[in-house]
């Protein structure tokens, strides 16, 4: 009963807040964003903040996150710091096109001038206002607000984020690096809404880096919709590196048309509570989807990867591999569903989840699921939870390598299977280095940060 009361309390608080700011949100935002709010809000009211009773959130308790009195950034603030000064990415030899977002808002000083003809990287709010035709068939079209209250809440409160648009047959060889910074002078609830549209025959690599720049508590609730047109290719990498007082709910929706190829690789290095929702809809024949994730958790951190892969058309291939290394009292969840719908014959769908527990206190819940409504498919799923192989450890040590280094070697080996799937070589090397530093317990930073926080 008490759970129910708490749920109502926190949900009511949010509902109250929304009602207070609704008029302001609507005045500030373009129609395209406003049009989706009403239903989304109703869907949130119906569902409320998820509790353990919600099967999809059975192992991730979001309730404690809402004890905190967050401030909200519904209005864009002028940032007096030059973020490009504060933040310098040092992924070596990785020549990226840099895009910065601060507290969910697309930064004004992002430079669009040196982009190849036709490519658009801009603010969602700006595009929705000045060029709504570009995104009206995509915005809020696959992020279903009925299935997840956090997605509903995001859609109801959305104000800004980034839009990446790649025109037909344009192959953008330079990776786009999107850096999402959380930086405010109080505990903050951040809503960010993003859109990636890769038109037929186009090709793009996107690297998303999530960072916190100071020690305040942040709750990020972001939604990204990704559309891969016919024969488009999208590589979407995420590096999550936030301090342990932050929480992130990250929902990624991908819709693939025929012959398209999408790779997602989520590397979780740090973060207090992280929930990654991923829903992939294979909506045309002969699609290929590689879905990878690797998380390193320690202390009381929590990682939850929740995936749904829907094979709606025949002859598609999906391949999921999620790995977790859990140290101290950290906890992990993998919940992955493959749904092969009727007539999606000749589907190949594979899923694997391997977990390494370094202590007796670390805990992993894994729930692989297959729903198959077609009769000529090849599907597999498997999950393992284990410790470091002591025999292998002894073997390495018996050759003169210290125990600590031997353990590192084994953990790096465990992670390697995911890291090797990173196609951008300089990024792969950098991630290798980051992972090694992370495992050594040194602060893994993929940037030089002038803020000297010990997050």
């Amino acid at each position: 009963m008490s759970v129910l009361v708490e749920k109502t309390d926190f949900s009511l608080k949010l509902i109250g807040h929304y009602n207070e700011v609704k008029a302001q949100l609507e005045t500030d935002s373009p129609a395209l964003i406003n049009n989706a709010r009403k239903k989304a809000f109703q869907d949130f009211v119906l569902q409320g903040i998820p509790t353990f009773k919600n099967e999809n959130y059975k192992y991730t308790n979001l309730q404690p996150l809402f004890f905190i009195d967050y401030s909200y950034n519904h209005i864009k603030e002028k940032s007096d710091v030059n973020l490009k000064e504060v933040f310098r990415c040092n992924v070596p030899q990785l020549d990226t096109h840099l895009v910065l977002n601060r507290n969910g808002w697309f930064c004004d000083n992002n430079n669009e001038s040196n982009l190849p003809e036709g490519i658009i990287i801009n603010s969602l709010r700006n595009i929705a206002k000045t060029n709504p035709e570009l995104i009206q068939d995509f915005y809020a079209k696959i992020a279903n607000t009925e299935e997840d209250p956090m997605v509903a809440l995001n859609t109801a409160m959305a104000t800004d984020g980034y839009v990446i648009y790649i025109p037909p047959n344009v192959q953008f060889d330079k990776a786009i690096q999107v850096i999402n910074l959380m930086e405010n002078n109080s505990d903050t609830f951040i809503t960010q809404r993003n859109l990636i549209i890769a038109d037929p025959g186009s090709k793009v690599s996107v690297l998303i880096c999530d960072h916190t720049l100071n020690n305040n508590k942040y709750l990020g609730n972001s939604v990204t919709e990704v559309f891969a047109g016919e024969n488009a290719q999208i590589d979407y990498y995420t590096i999550q590196n936030q301090h342990n007082n932050s929480a992130t709910i990250n929902s990624l929706f991908i819709k693939q048309e025929r012959d398209s190829n999408v790779l997602t690789n989520t590397m979780t290095l740090h973060g207090g509570l992280i929930r990654n929702n991923l829903k992939v809809l294979l909506n045309g024949e002969n699609c290929n989807s590689d879905i990878l994730g690797m998380a390193f958790m320690d202390r009381k951190q929590h990682i939850d990867n929740f995936t749904q892969i829907i094979h709606a058309k025949p002859h598609c291939l999906s391949n999921q591999l999620y790995k977790n290394v859990l140290d101290d009292e950290s906890t992990g969840v993998f919940s992955g569903r493959i749904h092969v719908v009727r007539d999606a014959q000749k589907t190949n769908a594979f899923q694997r989840n391997n977990n390494l527990l370094l202590t007796d206190q670390a805990k992993m819940n894994t729930k692989p699921q297959l729903i198959i409504d077609a009769d000529d498919v090849k599907c597999s799923h498997g999950a393992t939870v284990g410790q470091i192989d002591e025999e292998a450890l002894f073997y390495i040590r018996s050759r003169g390598i210290a125990e600590k280094d031997a353990r590192l070697m084994m953990m790096n080996a465990f992670a390697h299977e995911v890291i090797q799937e990173v196609k951008l070589e300089p990024l792969r090397d950098r991630i290798d280095e980051l992972v090694d530093k992370r495992l050594r317990g040194e602060i893994a930073r993929c940037h030089d940060c002038s803020y000297d926080c010990d997050c």
């Binding site: 073997y395 040590r397 018996s398 125990e403 070697m409 080996a413």
Partner: protein, 250 residues
């Protein structure tokens, strides 16, 4: 070099070694033979520092130091090497990284500069020829997908790289065909020197045709019940272990 005195070892309360005494001097080759379950592998594991063995009595000194107090990696750097009976596959750990780290840890211990990548590859090429290792194998993860014979060759290859003072070959002959056996033995013999001692643990006399021991010990029921020269191996081959068992009251 190695001195084992009255060594008693038990595993999970069960006594396996019941008072082993053994002296090994530089340059000597000792064979330890015995039927299944006599404690041969336990002895090899205790000497290399594997966990899970309780030393209830006795001592082992190695070059004057208490061996049993040393971590496995320190024993290795002090020159003890074991060729595993069942080498472990370690997916994701590349052979080259593994070997280079091991070699450079040994060098660091001797206050030598670490080998550069180029120097290491040269050393590796040299040693590979010794055991006729397939070049492709060192491009894989440690032992991953190696055949039984390749795994054993890989052990001797590592031995050649690390140049131990005391090599313990734990049933290196098991699972080898006759050609591989000869290759492995040739590798071991090529590394023979007046400073280097070898302990060959085996069931069969076969390997001892190629690696000729100075001493043969029979381990039975946790004790060394017989020690003699190489002729003892032939006697065992001809008569089996039954007479040993009878002599020792079973």
């Amino acid at each position: 070099m190695l001195s084992i005195k009255n060594l008693f070892v038990s595993v999970e309360g069960k006594e396996i070694l019941k008072g082993i005494n053994l002296e090994i001097n530089p340059g000597e080759v000792h064979a330890i033979m015995g039927p299944n379950g006599s404690g041969k592998s336990t002895l090899a594991n205790v000497l290399t520092g594997k966990e899970g063995y309780d030393i209830t009595e006795g001592e082992v000194s190695y070059n004057g130091e208490d061996l049993l107090e040393m971590a496995p990696e320190d024993r290795a750097k002090e020159g003890i090497f074991m060729s595993f009976q069942y080498p472990v596959e370690i997916p994701g750990v590349p052979m080259v990284n593994f070997l280079k780290t091991a070699v450079n840890e040994h060098r660091k211990h001797r206050n030598e500069e670490p080998l550069t990548a180029g120097e290491f590859l040269k050393l590796m090429r040299e040693k590979k020829e010794l055991v006729e290792m397939d070049t492709q194998l060192t491009n894989r993860s440690v032992n991953e997908g190696f055949s039984g014979g390749e795994k054993k060759k890989n052990e001797i290859f590592q031995m050649a790289l690390l140049e131990p003072k005391l090599a313990i070959l734990d049933e290196t002959d098991s699972g080898l065909d006759i050609d591989a056996l000869k290759t492995v033995a040739r590798g071991v013999n090529a590394l023979k020197s007046p400073e280097r001692s070898t302990v060959v643990v085996t069931h069969y006399q076969r390997l001892l045709d190629y690696i000729v021991p100075d001493f043969v010990h029979v381990l039975y029921n946790g004790k060394i019940v017989k020690s003699a020269g190489k002729e003892l191996a032939h006697e065992l081959e001809a008569k089996g272990y039954d007479w040993i068992k009878k002599e020792n009251g079973n």
